[in-house]
Amino acid sequence: MRVRKTALVAALSSLALLTGCGAADMTKQASPFANAQGAKTVTLSVQSWVGAQANVAVAQYILEHELGYRVDTVQVDEVPAWDALSQGRVDALLEDWGHPEQEQRYVKDKKTITDGGELGVTGHIGWFVPTYLAKQHPDITNWKNLNKYSHLFRTPESGDKGQLMDGSPSYVTNDKALVKNLKLDYQVVFAGSEAAQITQMRQFAKEKKPFLTYWYTPQWLFKKVPMTEVKLPPYKEGCDADPEKVACAYPHTPLKKYLNSGFAKNGGKAAAFLKKFEWTTEDQNEVSLMIADKKMTPEDAAKKWADSHKSTWKKWLS
């Protein structure tokens, strides 16, 4: 009896202690690892693909070596990254492929996130076959002929249909609807992660096997496994409005940066720098390739790029 009473008192008093000292807005809490050892810290979110890593690596390098910040990186997928950005758990998101719903909510309504300008890279999603296959069967690059070749793409996983490989669940994809609406004899197989997808593509390429995959540019893998896009029915504004009825290609998206509003206002040099950060598809690919293919650490790759592109990044600091 006594024990229960003690426990009750303890629970109540700790609750009182917690609630007694007023409100606590958890959306305004920084990461516990930020600003350690007196350094100013910027927390950047990294997405799971290498292009995003390249952005962050270069930004991190310049923030640390030119501006004297300490940089923490957190790997979060895009949509959760918006949420984290809004809460200030991360300060910046450097590569966003277009999330109108989130933009509406956080940038326009709640104003917790600020538009950070364009990254300078244009992204595009599509279906790709390896170039060696396209050379063998030139007409395979038109979606209308895909059914003719579906037997080439059979795997144990897709059974008696052709396999269309999709990647990470964090990517924007209409492929299931496309296959259905274009009446293709294909089965969408989700690799589940970009790492798995890339590994599988390289294994196929090593043996010159045919494969059809969801892929995107800019992407460093094109340098290792040359691929040709399969033409889908052309993209028109609004043709992908209803996710169930999509029957057209993916758009070309200018990639954008977003900053936490508080950081954008009070982030000083770091925020100013990140707003100005803008480079080209070639630049990004160069760094990506060093990271992903040459297996350099992101830091070394960024250093190498920065050493040879001084003029590019000097502009970001002015």
């Binding site: 409100a23 795997t155 990271i291 297996k295």
Partner: protein, 649 residues
Amino acid sequence: MATITASPPRIGLPGLLKSRAFQKLLLLAVAAAILVPLANARWASGTWPSALTVDFSEPLAKASDWIIDNRDSHPLFLYFFGHVSNVVVIAVRAVYLTLLAIGWAGVTALGALVAWRVAGVRLALGTAVAFLACGLLGMWVPTMQTLALMVVAVVASVVVGMLLGLAAGLSDRMDRVLRPVLDTMQVLPAFAYLLPVVLVFGIGVPAAVLATVIYAAPPMARLTSLGLRGADKEVLEAVASLGSTARQRLLTARLPLARKELLLGVNQTIMMALSMAVIAAVIGAGGLGDRVYQALASVDVGAALAAGIPIVLLAVVLDRVTGAAGEKLGAEPEPRSGVRWLVALIGVVAVAVAGRLAGRLDWPEAWIVGIAEPVNRAVDWMTAHLYSGVPVIGGTADWAGHFTTWVLDPMRDSLQALPWWGVLLIVAALAWVIGTWRTALTAVLAMAAIGVLGVWKPSLDTLSQVLAAVAVTLVVGFAVGIAAARSDRLERALRPVLDVFQTMPQFVYLIPVVALFGVGRAPAVAAAIVYALPAVVRITTQGLRQVDPAALEASGSLGATSWQQLKQVQLPLARPALLLAVNQGLVLVLAVVVIGGLVGGGALGYDVVFGLAQGDLATGLVAGGAIVCLGLMLDRVTQPTERRAKKGA
């Protein structure tokens, strides 16, 4: 249905009629004969009837929107969750800054000296080596981040677990309420806890810590309650007979008597917290798990391994040190133990101050050894030579293909072809034969819940993968376990291997698995086998070794060959352990279904990953719920009696 109503001939089988299993089946068959035609007439369909599903996506999406919109304004968040989150952030930060302030030399010294005091010189050396290895691999800061998170999560788990355990241990009513909850939480995969906490706290450290606490507190609670209840009744009576108050009884007798269990609880909590701290990288925990996860994105096995090794080292060291502390209990206390603690403390302070004065708090860059490249080369070589075209036996890709076509496909198709009530009946029959009507009811309800959630088909797909993986795991696990039980040398050699596989973050072996088996369900099954195998091997070996030596001696004296001994004495006597191995195999395989989703396993695992990645809580939570139900069902179907043993090996 036919499988169940096919009653054996009645004449000449009185024994069978009397057997309880048969009686249960007969009763079930009668119930089925009445209910099935009714159900079938009403909802005639092979798969789960859509009339019986409830669509949760709308309300869940609404709830998630509401939370996001109100997180910075609603009192519930401002006055409760906000503070919880705040406390977590402040605590983690305090520990993290302390660790950084002590510096790498100080932390290493602290670890080594604590290990020396509680576990002896050898483990102290091991601890020091482990910490230095973390630095050498260039992982000092992430290691400290993970450690800071772990310290806070473990302390919170131990406190929460002990409070719950005290409640369950001292009050029968609380025990009745808590026991089934804790038992159930024990079988749930770690991923299942991520989505709900993310929903409330958003991505970040607070969510990671809370998910870890939810995951790691139950073993502490169970073991605390077990320890309190398992105390020698006569000692407690003696203490009462001396006129003690309830408080005195608790503090001077019940808790000290339960200290073995308490320490085991701490040990288990640490191990579970560590594994969760890695998985929680998906929701922004940072630290080592995040490094592994980032390396995965650039398909860099070497980098992933560099971050994975510190995790393994931490796990092994923490396990051994807490284990050794447990074994030391009850031994005669060392003389002048206080003085030695003081010496240890002074040593730590001296090293830390020296490190500070030398300006060497951060691990020196020059001392970092890159292991990524050689590892990657080794992995490349292995995958290049094993993937396909190996003469005679074929490559791993061919095996994966055959396994998919000849095992996974037929299993999935036949499961999905079964009428829904047929699946429920099979579940009921299995659970009832093995347990009581209560277990059968729980199992059937869990299975039905999957149907109601509207994910019947993908769940059966996942189930087929789980069953295939468990079958392979058990065959291999029993074989290796039996071999290890018969040879001390093999067991010793296996121990570090099992340790590594049990503690290595699963993200690390994801890429090699895909490189060997391609994308699809086969690599998902392979990843599950790698994860579940160590526990099955351990339990099998332990079970066989614990067989009463007198029984072995007796059979040996009758001239039994060693094969006969194994078959007729050891295996039958180790039956409970083997059943536990089956149960644990299932639970563990299910726990990595989500990992399977990352390599093309599809089905529920993919849905959970999708939910996390897209912030689509409806999809994620429903799939997570279905995994939970599958886990419950499989656990009940393989749980012979009220099992109160601790989880896993």
